[in-house]
């Protein structure tokens, strides 16, 4: 039993020690840095290729998923506990000191302070006390005093809240760490792939999301300015609200937040617009919009054009086959074929990005040239739906940290300790100032106060 108590006490001591905090800070810092040097969350094969034998060591110690590993989270938890115990054990005595400052002290203790003054006054004790009170109150100091025989002890303080700056910072950090743990364990995230008009349920929610409209806006030079998805929240088939979601402008509803994450192309049912010209007749121009696999008649020419194939990102593979490199329209191309009656007269590929470069093979004498002017696939929008119950703790914690930092650094408490001692109708004054930061400013104020008291008759 005694052993257990001893053990608990020493545990509490280490948990409240700043040495442990320093050790943990260094260790967490080093581990965080390590995680940026070794790529995280890749495949085993990639690690083996990179690090050979070492790969298995890294994987064994979860260095490849360091920030979510048990030992890293353990370190952070220990750090939280350290902050908690350390702050609590220091906060209570500090609070007591703030409410009941130590008043009775020896003159010596005042005269060793860096900011101090002592002088005599031709006043009785009561009068001196009165004058000090007046002067200090006019500078917003709050006084606590005690009379002991022919001596009076004062403590005049202001900006007492500044005393708790570091506690508020530490409290804020605990909120942030707690928020991180809640986010990590209770948060959900999924990607909803939505075509225009499509409705999808949101997992773990009692409502659905419909994409009404999806547009991409471009700058004049062709780079993307913005993606905009008009989303509607549906509850029991009823629209609740609609919002245009853009990057940096998510939609929030019932704890879920919907972000514009990315986009993609759907080429399942594309159509193309083709312009047909005649080399010998500059006034000849026909525009045709044709779906893939369908055909269109060139009026007056008795020629039918059909589009057999469309690829958004044309590439010729090693086996000499036509394929698409990606689903993005980087190099859109269409394979067209023309016939007069049953007779085939041309066929080949045309390219939207390279109008002069067509691979049309003319079998019969025909004077046509073709341009792939436009193409329509549908774009789908990828919306990230996430629920992060920790996030409010994070913001609350950040607010505490910032308030605490302002108090700790810009609002240092000031204290003036005074001993007045009366003898033979005169009063001896000894005063000293205590401040933790920005001593120069306090010194000026202190000197002004004392000078004004010395001057008074």
């Amino acid at each position: 039993m005694e052993f257990l108590l001893k053990f608990l006490k020493s545990l509490l001591n280490s948990l409240s020690s700043v040495k442990l905090a320093i050790f943990l800070l260094i260790f967490i810092t080093a581990a965080s840095a390590l995680g940026t040097l070794i790529p995280q969350q890749r495949s085993t094969a990639e690690y083996v290729a990179r690090y050979d034998q070492l790969a298995h060591v890294f994987i064994r110690f979860q260095i490849t998923n360091l920030y979510h590993s048990g030992w890293f989270i353990g370190l952070l938890s220990l750090f939280s506990l350290n902050i908690f115990v350390c702050t609590l054990t220091r906060f209570l005595p500090r609070l007591r000191r703030a409410v009941h400052p130590k008043l009775i002290t020896d003159k010596k203790n005042i005269l060793v302070l860096k900011i101090k003054d002592s002088f005599g006054k031709n006043w009785r004790l009561a009068k001196t006390q009165e004058e000090f009170k007046k002067e200090l109150s006019s500078r917003h100091y709050r006084l606590k005093g005690e009379l002991k025989g022919n001596r009076a002890f004062f403590s005049a303080r202001k900006r007492i809240l500044g005393l708790f700056g570091s506690d508020v910072v530490h409290l804020g950090l605990l909120f942030v760490l707690a928020g991180g743990i809640i986010s990590g364990s209770g948060g959900t995230r999924e990607h909803l792939i939505l075509n225009e008009g499509q409705i999808l349920p949101v997992s773990k929610a009692d409502f659905k999301i419909r994409l009404d409209k999806f547009e991409t806006e471009y700058y004049p030079n062709g780079s993307v300015r913005d993606w905009k998805s008009t989303l509607t929240v549906l509850e029991n088939e009823e629209s609740i609200l609609s919002k245009v979601v853009e990057v940096n402008h998510p939609l929030s509803y019932k704890g879920f937040v919907f972000y514009q994450s990315s986009l993609g192309w759907n080429w399942s049912n594309p159509s193309v617009e083709i312009w047909i010209k005649k080399k010998k007749d500059p006034s000849f121009l026909k525009k045709k919009e044709i779906k893939i696999g369908e055909r269109a008649l060139l009026e007056g020419e008795n020629v039918q054009i059909s589009v057999l194939r469309f690829v958004p990102d044309f590439v010729i593979t090693e086996n000499n086959e036509i394929a698409t490199r990606s689903l993005d329209p980087n190099n859109p191309a269409a394979f067209i074929k023309g016939q007069r009656g049953d007779e085939k007269i041309f066929s080949g590929w045309i390219f939207a990005k390279f109008p002069d470069f067509s691979r049309i093979h003319h079998i019969k004498e025909a004077d046509f040239s073709f341009e792939l002017k436009n193409f329509k696939g549908s774009q789908y929008s990828v919306i990230q739906a996430s629920k992060d119950p920790g996030v409010n703790f994070i913001w609350l914690g950040c607010a505490f940290v910032m308030i605490g930092l302002s108090f700790a650094f810009y609002w240092p408490p000031r204290e003036i300790k005074v001993i007045l001692e009366e003898s033979h109708g005169k009063t001896e004054v000894a005063a000293g100032g205590i401040v933790s930061k920005n001593r120069e400013a306090f010194q000026l104020e202190f000197e002004k106060i004392m000078a004004s008291l010395r001057r008074k008759k």
């Binding site: 800070l25 810092t29 965080s32 840095a33 940026t36 972000y259 950040c398 930092l405």
Partner: protein, 270 residues
């Protein structure tokens, strides 16, 4: 007159300021330092104009590429220097500090840095970008001064130990380093971490994703937290504190440059 002319004038003014400061260092004539300060201050004013010009011209905050962000970092460094010089008279740090600023300006004007204001990719179109970058860089500017005064501390302290007397005492340098960090730390916390998290949450839907730039900002922040605790709670001062402050600024520099070029992540633009 356009933005790049203003930038050039600023650059020249900073070089003249550095010239006067170095001449002060060698001749110990106070008026040289005064001239240095006046030119640095003049440079700051023209630089401010250049940044405003660019903002108006491009229609967005001037920190979307490396050129803009370097120029802004140089600006906030001079601003921080002017403030600290005004309050604590650290003119002996002036020459060294201006070297950093000139290096930043030279890097910004090097042909490797694309200068044209590119249209903003969607993620950057947010006023949190303004707040995030400007407040962070301002905080780091104070870390930069602490870096210089900490190095000067180490030099001065070893001189003093050998019995050489110096104008600016080692103790004063130590206390100025601490004050700069006391100003820089809240700014860096607000800009780098708090605003950064808010912006990431708005843009990517996750306030923290352990991306290398985020992680290195956190590392920098930890190092300065270490500085504060070793100093306030364990009473470290002088040499050891100076080493921590130097290390902290190097970590901030790595966050700023190294991560972009050596490690890949979400923050690949600035």
């Amino acid at each position: 007159m356009n933005e790049s002319t203003l930038f050039l004038i600023t650059f020249i003014l900073y070089i003249i300021a550095a010239f006067f400061y170095f001449s002060f260092l060698f001749t110990r004539r106070e008026d040289r330092a005064r001239f240095g300060f006046i030119f640095a201050f003049g440079g700051l004013l023209i630089h401010t104009l250049a940044l405003i010009w660019r903002t108006v011209e491009s229609g967005h905050a001037p920190f979307t590429n490396m050129y803009e962000s370097l120029s802004f970092f140089a600006w906030s460094s001079i601003l921080a220097y002017v403030i600290i010089e005004f309050k604590y008279k650290i003119r002996k740090a002036g020459p060294y500090f201006l070297l950093i600023v000139i290096a930043l300006m030279a890097l910004a004007s090097s042909p490797l840095m694309p200068k044209e204001a590119a249209p903003l990719v969607p993620a950057l179109q947010s006023y949190w970008l303004w707040l995030h970058v400007s407040v962070t860089l301002l905080g780091e500017a104070f870390f930069a001064i602490a870096f210089i005064t900490s190095i000067m501390y180490l030099v001065t302290e070893s001189k003093n130990r050998r019995g050489v007397k110096t104008g600016l005492t080692a103790e004063k340098l130590d206390s100025i380093s601490y004050r700069c960090i006391a100003i820089g730390f809240p700014l860096f916390t607000l800009g780098g971490l708090v605003f950064g998290m808010i912006w990431a949450y708005k843009a990517w839907g996750a306030y923290w994703s352990w991306d290398p730039k985020e992680t290195w900002s956190l590392i920098t922040w930890f190092v300065f937290a270490l500085y504060l605790h070793t100093r306030i709670v364990m009473g470290w001062k002088g040499r050891r504190s100076a080493y921590v402050a130097i290390f902290g600024f190097l970590s901030a520099l790595f966050t700023y440059f190294g991560v972009n070029y050596l490690l890949a992540g979400l923050h690949s633009y600035a």
